[in-house]
């Protein structure tokens, strides 16, 4: 941490807890980044606080995406929206996990707070099928408009791999055993 | 004098015919040599590889017509300038002063155009 004005991760965790305490859960440090879970209904308030609070100043929008944790094994969980923001002033990394209902995935749009989310939300929408109410123009970004399905969900299998397994050896043991 | 004058125009006419012939002849030669394999895609209008939105003959904002007007002003000036240019040495100072006045009027027109900001677009 050599950025002038940077604070250590534990300090950052304290500040986040102090500022956002009641609205977020399970704050912890994960490889130097503050990591917490936020319910969709609190998201807009939390993100605005993160950006505008003078103790945090997370004005830099890194990314927004989704994770389908349905096959992650024990303690996995369901579908979530993943947001990462950064504070250039204090060098704080914040990762926000927003669990959404897999049956009717919906998460408020934060594109009014971070303009960068405009594209990221469109991508997450088409890839995971998550709706972002409040987004001004929620259309497909990458996929053709008539594409069916949401490719990044775990239930969406890559047809090529279903039809035909990977032809080569996948790891050294297999290769030694006579694979290609 | 008259004869040579007309023969000069005859030369221009001949040259015009020959140069049109040169261009058209080459195009005809190309017609004999080139292939012709029509297909639908070849005859579509190019717009960066996708179907054009709207048509090419849109009524665009021609900001340039102001320049055309300005050009007319100055090109008319040129018409007067060349005859003057040849004889002004014989006519002397008076001719020069007259031209100064003429050019000053035109320069005023240009100045007016600049002041009206017709040269700025944004």
């Amino acid at each position: 941490m050599t950025r002038p004005g940077a604070i250590t991760p534990p300090e950052a965790l304290d500040r986040v807890e102090e500022t956002l305490g009641p609205w977020v859960e399970e704050h912890k440090l994960n490889f130097g980044a503050v990591d917490f879970i936020c319910k969709p209904e609190n998201l807009v308030r939390v993100m605005r606080r993160l950006r505008d609070s003078e103790h945090l100043g997370c004005v830099f929008f890194t990314f927004l995406s989704g994770v389908d944790r349905s096959e992650l094994g024990e303690g996995g969980g369901g579908l979530e929206v993943l947001i990462h923001v950064y504070s250039p002033e204090f060098a704080i990394h914040v990762t926000v996990h927003v669990p959404v209902d897999p049956a009717a995935p919906e998460c408020p749009s934060i594109s009014g707070i971070y303009k960068g989310a405009l594209w990221h939300e469109r991508e997450t929408h088409e890839m995971f099928g998550i709706l972002f109410p409040g987004h001004p123009h929620l259309t497909t970004l990458y996929l053709p408009e008539d594409f069916e399905g949401h490719p990044m969900l775990r239930s969406f299998k890559l047809p090529t791999r279903v039809v035909k397994a990977w032809p080569g050896a996948k790891d050294p043991e297999e290769a030694a055993a006579g694979g290609r | 004098m008259a004869r040579s004058y007309f023969s000069q125009y005859l030369t221009i006419g001949l040259f015009l015919v020959v140069s049109v012939g040169l261009v058209m002849g080459t195009l005809q030669l190309a017609r004999l040599l080139r292939p012709n394999v029509p297909s639908y895609e070849k005859y579509t209008t190019y717009e960066s590889g996708i179907d054009p939105i709207g048509q090419g003959w849109a009524q665009t904002n021609v900001r340039y017509y102001i320049f055309a007007l300005l050009f007319v002003v100055f090109d008319v000036e040129a018409v007067f300038l060349f005859p003057w240019a040849i004889v002004f040495e014989r006519l002397g100072t008076q001719a020069l002063i007259e031209m100064v006045i003429f050019i000053a009027i035109l320069a005023l027109a240009l100045l007016y155009a600049v002041k009206k900001k017709v040269l700025d677009w944004l």
């Binding site: 995406s65 994770v67 060098a91 960068g116 890559l158 | 960066s48 939105i53 904002n61």
Partner: protein, 384 residues
């Protein structure tokens, strides 16, 4: 240079004589097949004569679904896959993946490998920046810088080729270290290459930066203000051209970047000229880093203690590196398998280009090209 930091000016139609004329706005497709878009990138431009009213970038023409593909492949295979995202800076793309796996597996990378990673990454950065130096000039109609920049690139590219066997897609970084050690003569050739760049760069710079027409075309054109840059998540030379001094190599030094002496180039105005100026400045800084790294290059192994099968333990990590075009981040979710459970790739060009429509409103059609050229992006990096 005027110190304007506000966004694009509103259209104040100068001429009093017009206005009563009936004109139509015209929708013009710039791209996907257009000389100025560096690939299949489309800009849906609404124009009114020579004025660009607004422009909406349309992407996705070469979306390859990397985030899905990596879920089917093990970490070894992914190395070669991510190398193809940003085809101008292949080796930089491999770095965050290797680092993410190393962090989860707690692998210590030997110093020689770290130094070599720095050298290769910075040489790749020079290649990338020279490419944009070339293309920006070409877009503004100056063709000569293209050839000069490509001549310089070739010397460095040859060193990279001799080392890794590839000219664009290297596949050289592995979790734990490098594929193999550098060949004999690497040190001399690499030093020769970068010293040549340092020596000739001022000349090339003057070709454009010192040219009055170039200044006219770029200064105060396409201003991206600081707040918008933050909000859109703009990084790299573009953000630094808007007065943001973020550089991950300095802010959170990874590899051994904290051992070298280099400056973060930045410029305050956020116009095309500043972006370009930062880009050119970074070439020199990268060359300096390579010089220092080669001089201090320690001997030793190039591979840490890595198990035969790379299997990242369950966990999540976000690793970010300073790609030539900005912050390349990879959010790796692992369930302990040989394959990543989820790998979110945050590419710099994607965020940078999303800010384009903000900058492009109310400019000249000609400025659009200057702005596109100064928003250094690679299509593969946007579409992944």
């Amino acid at each position: 240079m005027a110190m304007t930091t506000e966004g694009p000016k509103p259209a104040s139609r100068g001429a009093g004589a017009e206005g009563r004329l009936q004109t139509e706005e015209m929708i013009l497709n710039v791209g996907p097949q257009h000389p100025a878009t560096h690939g299949v990138f489309r800009l849906l431009a609404t124009i009114d004569g020579e004025i660009l009213i607004n422009a909406e970038p349309v992407i996705g023409y070469m979306h390859r679904g990397y985030e899905k593909l990596v879920e089917q492949r093990d970490y070894r295979q992914i190395t070669n896959l991510v190398s193809r995202m940003d085809w101008l800076s292949g080796i930089n793309n491999e770095l965050p993946l290797a680092m993410a796996v190393e962090q989860l597996m707690e692998i210590e990378v030997p110093p020689r490998a770290q130094y070599l990673r720095v050298i290769l990454c910075e040489m790749n950065r020079i290649l990338n920046h020279l490419m944009f130096f070339a293309s920006f000039g070409a877009e503004l109609g100056a063709i000569t810088p293209t050839f000069y920049a490509f001549r310089e690139r070739e010397d460095i590219q040859r060193v990279m080729e001799a080392t890794t066997g590839g000219r664009m897609h290297f596949g050289f970084f592995r979790p734990g270290g490098l594929k193999e050690d550098v060949p004999r003569g690497f040190v001399d050739e690499a030093l020769k290459g970068v010293r040549q760049v340092i020596e000739r760069l001022p000349d090339y710079e003057n070709l454009l930066v010192g040219n009055e027409i170039f200044k006219q075309r770029t200064i105060d054109v396409g201003v991206l203000d600081r707040e918008a840059a933050y909000s859109y998540g703009v990084t790299g030379p573009i953000a630094r051209g808007s007065g943001i001094d973020m550089d991950i190599r300095k802010d959170e030094p990874y590899l051994v970047y904290d051992k070298f002496d280099f400056d973060v180039c930045s410029a305050p105005n956020g116009d095309c000229f500043d972006r370009f100026w930062v880009l050119v400045g970074e070439v020199g800084e990268s060359a300096r880093i390579v010089e220092q790294a080669i001089e201090d290059l320690p001997p030793g192994p190039i591979m840490g203690k890595v198990p035969r099968v790379v299997q990242a333990p369950a966990g999540e990590v976000y690793v970010r590196t300073e790609n030539p075009l900005g912050e390349l981040g990879m959010y790796l979710v692992s369930d302990g398998d040989r394959r990543p459970y989820r790998l979110k790739i945050r590419t710099p060009s994607y965020s940078n280009v999303s800010a384009l429509s903000h900058v492009l409103a109310n400019t000249y059609v000609s400025d659009m090209i200057a702005i596109l050229g100064s928003f250094f992006f690679v299509l593969g990096d946007i579409d992944r």
